[in-house]
């Protein structure tokens, strides 16, 4: 193929179809084939034979068998033994069930739908079981979050089930020693500890199902107030995002980041492809957003301190200092506020102005600190307002005192670019019952007076 032809391929959309112009290529004709360098350069052969002559074993000792003789003798021995050996047949036993469960057919796997609990996303998964034992986890194709996929963490969680160090019996701690006991004994210890049951607290994670209702029912039945149920997530984003939405909108909610509805995505220290709020859902929707569709490709601009998976995949990446996410987002907010095309009501804009005034001191130094020019933000603001866009801020592991402020600024940015209702959806979200904002603080204040039951977590504080 001529090089001139290549330039036209870009406009020809049939190129990537199976019956494209590449099929018309000439068959590849192999060139001359040489088995060894000696065939091409006879000098090499002469040299190498000299070298081999020098390398000969001076002792003259050699293994008395060459490889062929060894194979002959060995196979003769094997055949001689095999003639008598292979007619042994073991007595095999077939042991059927005593009571065969209704959903088990011997020899065939049974599949159950379940929820992955490796991270806070709560992907739907299908568990393959054989004779009642889970053997493989896969994403549930009918589940809106996982859409048939399951991340490496989720796939590997089956190993936790069969881990040799997994607790097989309840343990009671006497002094520094953990002693395995029977369930009855453990219940006895618990009952003694709880007394009249009015001071019980439960620490748990966000849930996709009816778990929280069960815990509340338990607390009510035991005589403790229902508010003693505390939710906590190791993923910092759950806290900061819910807290910020509570402050901004007064709702206990976690928005769903539907990246499919965004052509222009900006990440400020975000790690939505690595962990984020829901890795599979975000990766799936991002692959659609970033794909070639409607005649153009989606764009991802990333501001981040350390190179992440998402930064590598970004179209444009700006390095910023560590903990510079808040300043970066404030600079972007200012650029959007100064742009005439920005969306949002007059009241919202006046709120933004208040905040920008409040932070004016930091913003005046910000350009130097962040190390990204002002024109970059102005241009970015322009393109964000022209296209369907979304700004994601904050990483799941960056959990500090600024996290909630960062999310608040991100909310304001998303209001100004009109992302709410399009790419940011406040429906039931990834989790019907996510964590409740402020629960962790409440827990730290109140837990000392309570007997706390910890579900999934083992706090060291």
């Amino acid at each position: 193929m001529e090089f001139d032809e290549l330039s036209t391929l870009e406009n020809n959309k049939q190129v990537f179809a199976p019956s494209g112009p590449f099929e018309k290529n000439k068959a590849i004709v192999p060139g001359d084939f040489y088995a060894a360098a000696e065939e091409v350069i006879p000098e090499v052969a002469a040299e190498s034979s000299d070298v081999a002559g020098d390398m000969e074993d001076p002792t003259g000792k050699e293994f008395p068998l060459d490889r062929r003789d060894f194979m002959k003798l060995f196979s003769a021995g094997a055949v001689a033994s095999a003639a008598t050996g292979c007619i042994n047949r073991p007595v095999e036993k077939a042991i059927p069930y005593v009571n065969q469960p209704k959903d088990q057919v011997p020899g065939t796997p049974t599949y159950y739908a379940s929820t992955c609990n490796q991270c806070s996303a709560g992907c739907g998964m299908v568990v393959k079981t054989r004779e009642g034992r889970p053997t493989k986890l896969e994403g549930n194709p009918g589940h809106p979050v996982s859409q048939g996929a399951l991340c490496a963490l989720g796939q590997a969680s089956i190993q936790g089930l069969y881990h040799p160090e997994r607790k097989k019996a309840p343990e009671v701690k006497f002094g520094k020693k953990h002693v395995a006991v029977e369930w009855e004994e453990a219940y006895g210890h618990l009952a003694k500890k709880f007394g009249d049951g009015t001071k019980i607290g439960i620490l748990t994670c966000g849930s996709t199902g009816s778990r929280h209702k069960f815990f509340r029912d338990f607390l009510r039945t035991m005589g403790s107030p229902e508010r003693n149920l505390y939710t906590w997530e190791p993923n910092g984003l759950f806290h900061s995002i819910t807290e910020a939405h509570k402050l901004a909108f007064g709702v206990n909610a976690m928005p769903r980041f539907d990246l499919r509805n965004a052509d222009n995505i900006v990440g400020i220290g975000s790690d939505f492809l690595d962990v984020g709020v829901s890795p599979i859902y975000q990766a799936k929707s991002f692959s659609q957003a970033h794909a070639y569709r409607n005649g153009k490709m989606g764009k991802l601009t990333q501001f981040e301190a350390t190179l992440s998976l998402k930064g590598e995949g970004a179209d444009v990446r700006y390095p910023i200092p560590v903990d510079g996410e808040l300043l970066t987002s404030l600079l972007l907010l200012r650029a959007l506020h100064e742009n005439n095309a920005s969306k949002g009501t007059a009241e919202e804009k006046s709120r933004v102005k208040e905040i920008l005034d409040q932070y004016s001191e930091q913003i005046s130094n910000a350009t130097n600190e962040v190390g990204v020019k002002r024109e970059v933000f102005d241009k970015l603001a322009d393109s964000l307002l022209k296209e369907r866009s979304l700004v994601l801020a904050g990483g799941s592991t960056n959990f500090n005192e600024d996290s909630t402020s960062l999310q608040l600024v991100a909310i304001l940015i998303n209001i100004l670019i009109g992302a709410y209702g399009k790419a940011l959806v406040l429906d039931r979200g990834h989790m019907p019952t996510p964590i409740v904002p402020g629960d962790l603080r409440r827990f730290l204040n109140e837990a000392e007076d309570l007997d706390v039951l910890c579900h999934r977590y083992k706090p060291y504080f």
Binding site: S81, T84, P90, P106, G107
Partner: protein, 215 residues
Amino acid sequence: MLIKSLNLKIVLVVSDAYWPFILLCSLVLIWRPSLRLFLFGVAMCAAAAVSNTGYSWWMWTPGDTVDTSTQSIIGNGYHPDQPINFSHKLHAGDRKIPCQYCHSSARRSPIAGIPSLNTCMGCHKLVNTDRDPIKFLTEKFEKDEPIEWVKVHDLPDHVRFTHKPHILAKVQCQECHGPVETTETAEQWAPLQMGWCIGCHLKKNVSTSCNTCHY
């Protein structure tokens, strides 16, 4: 000379388990390669394997093995003793109970499945409860212990035979398992060798591709 006599002694002593001898012989060979010692070892192995009583050194089988003096084990005719003498003639022949009433997983899964104990107890809670075998069943059922039947039809692990497609293609049970309804305890009627499988597949004009059964 010393090593050779040592080898001989080991062969004579451990004539039932040759692997330690092979291990030693190989170690000696690695230490001091010698063709004569190697040939000697191979000859000893062959002799020992020919005079082998239980199992051979290269294919040690755990557990019991079938007594070859009373049982034919290549091909058909394997007819082992079972915990109780379950009579197929009585159930399938005289009483005309359909095969898949008990072997219900045959149409659903790769294996026909020896019925679970609750399948037996479905009838025998009420039927013939005074007979000894039924008492044995009831006792096992109450103790929640499974019955260890001896597996009769056993294919090598590299064959992926499945009952389901055969049943769905309306192959009769008797075509492979013989006249079960006239025999007492289970017996291997067909040779279950590959040629026998292929013969039927050719006759019925179905796939004989390798990966139909080996995949």
